[in-house]
């Protein structure tokens, strides 16, 4: 044998639980906001439900080490192949790496993971409240309701800091739901916070509220709508190492009767009913 102790000679690429994907397009659609479309030659899992996420491997050499969780923004099954849309904001090293991906780049991911948004009962009205990069999973929900013939029941509220950072929803021809936008500086849509849009919306006992965005925004939504609507659901974000329930790193505090307990955002969430959440849940998310 001549292999010696060279590192390369016993590297085996398989088995792996990760799914192979390929970048179809990767485009900066607003300042620091990227729309990544992935093609998967073999989709062997169940179709993701809106609110579920994937852990995307950024690097194979151990730095950055951990996968990045992204809520799925869109998913289209074409026979054995599938297409997935991820919308990400560049916030650090990992997402910085991801901007270098271009058409044909190989990508590996784990998922779909977690529990998605419970679908609204017939006859209810849905208010989707998206703050900044909390938009993607709510896009998936809006698209799903629209394709199920319920787009008319949906109002999507979307807030950003300013026009430059904002995804232009008119560029999504399949969205098909009513929406309203706002910016903190008034450069696009109404001036103010997305919770101001929510304050102006009609909320009743037949309303379901779905929210995803920065923790202070979701806490404000929770305060406003609790007890005033049929139910409300929040997609929480947390730092996580594994995404599938083993590291216990993404713990968040929730109600358990009169007490409290830690649950995992990746496994018991990321979507939680407002009934379970307290002000502390949002502070920790």
């Amino acid at each position: 044998m001549t292999a010696g102790h060279d590192d390369r000679h016993c590297a085996a690429p398989s088995p792996s639980a990760l799914m192979e994907a390929e970048v179809l397009t990767n485009t900066e659609v607003a300042a620091g906001l990227w729309r990544l479309r992935l093609g998967m030659p073999q989709w062997s899992r169940s179709e993701p439900s809106p609110g579920q996420f994937v852990m995307v491997r950024v690097s194979d050499d151990g730095d950055p080490l951990l996968g990045r969780p992204f809520g799925i923004a869109g998913f289209w099954l074409h026979g054995p192949t599938a297409e997935m849309e991820i919308i990400f904001r560049v916030v650090g090293k990992g997402t910085g790496f991801m901007t270098r991906w271009s058409s044909g780049s190989p990508v590996r991911l784990l998922g779909p993971l977690g529990n998605g948004f419970p679908l609204p009962p017939l006859g209810s009205r849905c208010i989707l409240v998206a703050g900044g990069v909390g938009l993607p999973p709510l896009l998936a929900l809006a698209r799903s309701l629209e394709s199920g013939g319920r787009g008319g029941d949906v109002l999507l509220l979307y807030g950003e800091a300013n026009r430059d950072r904002m995804l232009d929803l008119d560029t999504l021809p399949d969205l098909g739901v009513r929406f309203a936008t706002c910016t903190e500086d008034g450069s696009c849509g109404r001036e103010g916070l997305v919770t101001d849009l929510l304050a102006a919306a009609e909320i009743g006992e037949d309303s379901l509220v779905y929210a995803c965005g920065p923790a202070p925004m979701m806490r404000a939504v929770h305060e406003r709508v609790s007890g005033r609507c049929l139910d409300s659901f929040y997609s929480l974000e947390s730092r996580m190492a594994c995404g599938f329930g083993v590291c216990a790193g993404c713990a968040v505090e929730v109600r358990e009767g009169d007490e409290w307990t830690y649950v995992r955002v990746c496994s018991e969430g990321p979507v939680f009913s407002g009934d379970l959440l307290t002000e502390r849940s949002f502070r920790q998310a």
Partner: protein, 316 residues
């Protein structure tokens, strides 16, 4: 490769002593595998050398406040804080699942006092199907996580001697890299009756958010793991191998078969895969396959041929 050139399939079996026999040298590291339930969605637990479950204390523990994890260069810090279901619920609710799936189970045990370690160990010893106990004297994340035993050879030896008199189960003692003297610690627990040592646990570290000027972790300090600690772990395994006769189990940044092979060459008889499991749940199976391929390619018939085979000095 043609039929006549085919090498004999190497024997991957590992006998760690006192009844703990692994079908291959790859275990999961405690705290990275839960109790096997989530992992079983991805892999057959019976294919692993052993499952080392999340550390078990006498009573359930909620763990530390979030944030609990933060990424670092080629690694991560965790401050989970030994969240666990407690020994009673483990035996009633978690162990049956692992056994049903054919796993060889090593239970990581922790406590605040010698008495707590003893009570947990005695409870576990009533379950005759447990493969062994890993004595956690090295968790850096809680004040009463046993780390005080891991810093002082006399205290570690006292604890191990007490456990030795209380159980016939295999006792694997997990050593802390935060102890300055790995050979001394390894010898102390060997003399007190340990059947093997596993190392390293995480290295204590911290990170700071400069915007908020707060610690990046709710528990302030955390344990560093991942590729960043591999060279330190490898050195400590090599030191421990030179110090004791009992088997050494290597842990620290093992993500690929070649990493495991390095630990075996340094003196490990078995290894544990931890943080790399977070990245791909099939990592342990990939490591097993790669070790077998390495031995086969090198013409080695068993792990013993590779173990401790490091050549130091003039190659002649």
């Amino acid at each position: 490769m043609t039929g006549k050139n085919r090498k004999a399939v190497p024997d991957l079996t590992v006998d760690l002593g006192r009844g703990l026999v692994l079908k291959n040298p790859v275990m999961t590291a405690s705290g990275t595998f839960g109790y096997g339930e989530e992992a079983s969605a991805y892999l057959d637990l019976s294919e692993l050398g052993a499952v080392v479950v999340k550390g078990i204390s006498e009573e359930p523990r909620r763990g530390n406040p979030p944030p609990r994890v933060v990424e670092t260069p080629a690694g991560m810090l965790n401050s989970i804080g030994l969240q666990n279901v407690g020994v009673k619920a483990f035996l009633a609710e978690k162990l049956p699942f692992l056994l049903d799936r054919g796993a060889t189970v090593v239970v990581n045990v922790l406590g605040s006092t010698v008495e707590e370690y003893l009570r947990v160990t005695e409870r576990l010893s009533t379950a005759p199907v447990i493969g062994g106990i890993e004595v956690n004297i090295s968790c850096p994340n809680v004040k009463e996580g046993g780390v005080q035993f891991g810093m002082c050879p006399d205290m570690a030896a006292g604890l191990v001697a007490s456990l030795r008199s209380a159980t016939d189960l295999h006792l694997m003692v997990k050593l802390s890299p935060n102890s300055g003297d790995i050979p001394g610690m390894a010898r102390a627990v060997e003399e007190a009756g340990a059947d093997s040592v596993s190392l390293i646990n995480t290295i204590t570290g911290m990170d700071i958010d400069i915007r908020t000027r707060r610690p990046a972790l709710g528990g302030v300090f955390g344990g560093l793991s991942g590729p960043a600690i591999r060279p330190v772990a490898l050195r400590m395994v090599y030191e421990a191998f030179g110090a004791v006769r009992i088997p050494v189990v290597g842990i620290g940044g093992i993500a690929d078969p070649e990493h495991a092979v390095k630990f075996i060459i340094a003196g490990s008889l078995a290894v544990q895969v931890g943080t790399a499991f977070f990245l791909d749940p099939l990592t342990p199976l990939r490591v097993i396959k790669g070790i077998e391929e390495y031995l086969s390619r090198e013409g080695m018939l068993s792990l013993a041929d590779a173990r401790g085979s490091l050549v130091v000095g003039d190659p002649g």
